[in-house]
Amino acid sequence: MAEQLSWKVGGQQGEGIESTGEIFSMALNRLGYYLYGYRHFSSRIKGGHTNNKIRVSTKKVSAVADDLDILVAFDQETIDVNYQELHANGIIIADTKFKPVKPEDTDAAFYAVPFTEMATELGTSLMKNMVAVGASCAIINLDVSVFLGVVEEIFGRKGETVVQKNMEAIQHGYDYMKEQLDTDTSALQLPPADGQKRMFMIGNDAIALGALTAGVRLMAAYPITPASEIMEYLIKKLPKVDGTVIQTEDEIAAATMAIGANYAGIRSFTASAGPGLSLMMEAIGLSGMTETPLVVIDTQRGGPSTGLPTKQEQSDLMAMIYGTHGEIPKVVIAPGTAEEGFYDTIEAFNIAEEYQLPVILLSDLQLSLGKHTVEPLDYSKVNIRRGKLVTEGIEPREDKSYFKRYEVTEDGVSPRSIPGVSGGIHHVTGVEHDETGKPSESPANRKAQMDKRMRKLDELTKVFPNPIYTNAQHDEADLLLIGFNSTGGAIEEAMVRLEADGMKVNHARVRLVHPFPTEEILPLIESAKQVAVVENNATGQLASIIKMNAGYPQKIKSILKYDGNPFLPHHIVESSKELM
């Protein structure tokens, strides 16, 4: 029996590949299996190879699997491009329609199944994906009845007949495959799952849900891959809390509109990817200088420029920390899982308001678009903290002097009144200003205000929850692996294998990348013989940040991948061994 299974479906974009994976995994999720999906797709609408690789397990999994058990192919390209991932007792099932050819150099079993033909017989070729799902079930010995709920949900509003037809298609695929199957597939059969209901969502859903839970009322955004889903979720949900999404004319408008809304006292934000973030840099500086809360989500994708818009990368780190001219306090958070995406988004809004500064929540394509089983989210852990917001009780001043919105305080945070609040009138400007917001060029004032603003970062590494996620069993490790965002899962799996080979490995995943939690990570670096920073980029950006803050330029090595694909555990295992 397999502990886990890796299944992939592939074909041309626009042919229903996505829904095949979707239906298959939804059903498995409902049985209580843990899933981890990754979609390979191109920057075009129809055509071009796409595939969806889904890992199924009875335990939590957080990485794309190294290899593959079952490959479902809707075209020859899918076979050619992916068959090498199959291990020896893997299986290919391919639509007879394209006359599939089995590659010579594989031990995997090969079955041509008339997906399209059977679907057409049932009424429409569109159901070929259902046939493929059924055939997959036959291999892993899954009772097709589990699909009823899912199919009803998806096709229910089209009527009972459609539901029935689709269930039939699944059943036909199952039956056909069962009949053909002449290989021993016991190694591909999963033990029963725990039957727990768990959420199954992409990282962007988790982030969007986090924003909604944090009390967002206005999202201003411009579409872009791989961020658009955040906007699309909230378009549906914000009206339920009297709020809305505005699709702006560009990202500059999105960021500045969000600033305006935050200034006026609501929680508002925007989400984009690299090109949009580059355009927002001036706005982010305005937020920092005027101390107006602002949350911006950056779903990283392959750069630079338009780059590889549908591919995984983690190359915006430096630009997010250091982008915008001049110096502002800014917080950059990098959740590693959908769960963290949810909680950290809420925390991003809290920090933005408590510290009155821009917070960039960094995600990456693998996290944002990968569909994963998510552990229950605990609403009781959610709290909304608005910091020094003052909405009433301000003493009126006879002399019409302004409210000291930028009062120099010990923690750098000043009381904040919002438009509409009587007695709270003040001026806000991106020009250097005095305590009331009046422009000032006085050197002493400049220094006081600059120091005040920068002071906000002093405590942040202390108050942020788990700035470094650590899995460090060893007082003295042979190797410390460091990563951020979605690489964590692959690192954890690599650790297990390296440990099995007798290596002592610790793992530190940086969740707060700016301000950098030097003190928290330093002991781990010092106690490790060797340090490797695992990043989906070409220049080792996180490694640079660590060197800048913690030193040890010699000891810190990089494991890099920048070909558009996520790390698989074996990449990290191999590179780690090479380093030692």
Binding site: N29, R198, M199, F200, M201, L209, T213, A214, G215, R217, L218, P239, K240, V241, D242, G243, T244, I246, T248, E249, D250, I252, A253, T256, M257, A258, I259, G260, N262, Y263, A264, G265, I266, S268, A283, G285, L286, L377, Y379, V382, I384, R386, D399, K400, S401, I418, P419, G420, V421, S422, G424, I425, H426, H427, V428, T429, G430, G437, K438, P439
Partner: protein, 291 residues
């Protein structure tokens, strides 16, 4: 609303740093008067401005004020209004701010029709950066950046506004304090976006479009018999015939609802007063949708 206010309530302690004689002084005064005339109290007014000499205006009015970045007064102002529908939101800035770097936002704010009053102090030049050509400069206009005279077509904000579907399009002259005040009042009261372009002479860098020049060249729409500001095509024709040099309310559409009125389910009360807590029940419901 609080007790009746006068324009003095909208004065603060800050002395404007504009050059003596700058047209912007009167614009400031007109805003203060209009605000008082429509019965606002200072804390219910938010003035959002861009960067330029004119952009300093948000600091000279006793109200909430935000002086943002160059060209972005409008998106900021729209965000403010969306957050708190009870505020009166005035966006303001220069012709460079609104018609050069901010051109895109201006067009889209007009299309969107969120209830913001946008006042442009149009001096046909870049004041703060010491006298370069603006999109409003006339052909042949000589500046630091066009020593041989501008060779680009002068932008017509009024014609643009009319064709873009703006619901309130007006033009005024900064010395016509009474007219200007009345127009700003009408703009504030208009439900939807209003664009008010104000000829506000730069006495330091623009030696062509002076107070005298405008006095000689402007025609008040009020003097054109039978002018009907609800007739879009007539508005367009009048602008073309007068080379845009008219003052008054050029076009107003009182029927099209504002953006906020059109947003499905948009709050009837200021969003800024909402309780942010979702509640465990609503949260559970959302979570279930992913199961």
């Amino acid at each position: 609303m609080a007790t009746a206010t006068t324009f003095k309530d909208f004065r603060n302690n800050v002395k404007p740093n504009w050059c003596p004689g700058c047209g912007d002084f009167s614009v400031q005064a007109a805003i203060q008067r209009a605000a008082a005339n429509v019965g606002l109290s200072p804390e219910k007014l938010a003035v959002i401005s861009g960067i330029g000499c004119s952009g300093r205006i948000s600091g000279y009015i006793n109200s909430y004020g935000l002086h943002g970045i160059h060209g972005r007064a409008l998106p900021i102002a729209q965000g403010v209004k969306m957050a708190n529908k009870d505020l009166t939101v005035i966006a303001s800035g220069g012709d460079g701010d609104g018609f050069a770097i901010g051109m895109g936002h201006t067009i889209h704010a007009m299309r969107r029709n969120i209830d913001v009053t946008y006042i442009v102090m149009d001096n046909q030049i870049y004041g703060l950066t010491k006298g370069q050509t603006s999109p409003r400069s006339a052909a042949g206009f000589k500046t630091k950046s066009t020593p041989l005279g501008s060779i680009e077509q002068t932008l017509s904000p009024m014609q643009l506004a009319v064709t873009t579907g703006a619901t309130f399009v007006a033009q005024s002259f900064s010395t016509d304090l009474k007219d200007l005040t009345a127009i700003i009042e009408a703009g504030i009261q208009h439900k939807g976006f209003s664009l008010i372009n104000v000829f506000s002479p730069c006495v330091t860098y623009n030696k062509v479009n002076t107070y005298d020049w405008f006095k000689e060249n402007l025609t008040k729409l009020a003097t054109i018999e039978g002018y009907d500001s609800s007739d879009r095509q007539a508005a367009m024709n009048t602008l073309m015939q007068h080379d845009d040099l008219v003052t008054g309310i050029i076009y107003q559409d009182t029927e099209r609802p504002s953006y906020q009125q059109l947003v499905e389910g948009y709050s009837e009360t200021p969003l800024s007063e909402a309780d942010l807590d979702l509640g465990a029940e609503a949260f559970d419901q959302l979570v279930k949708e992913f199961m």
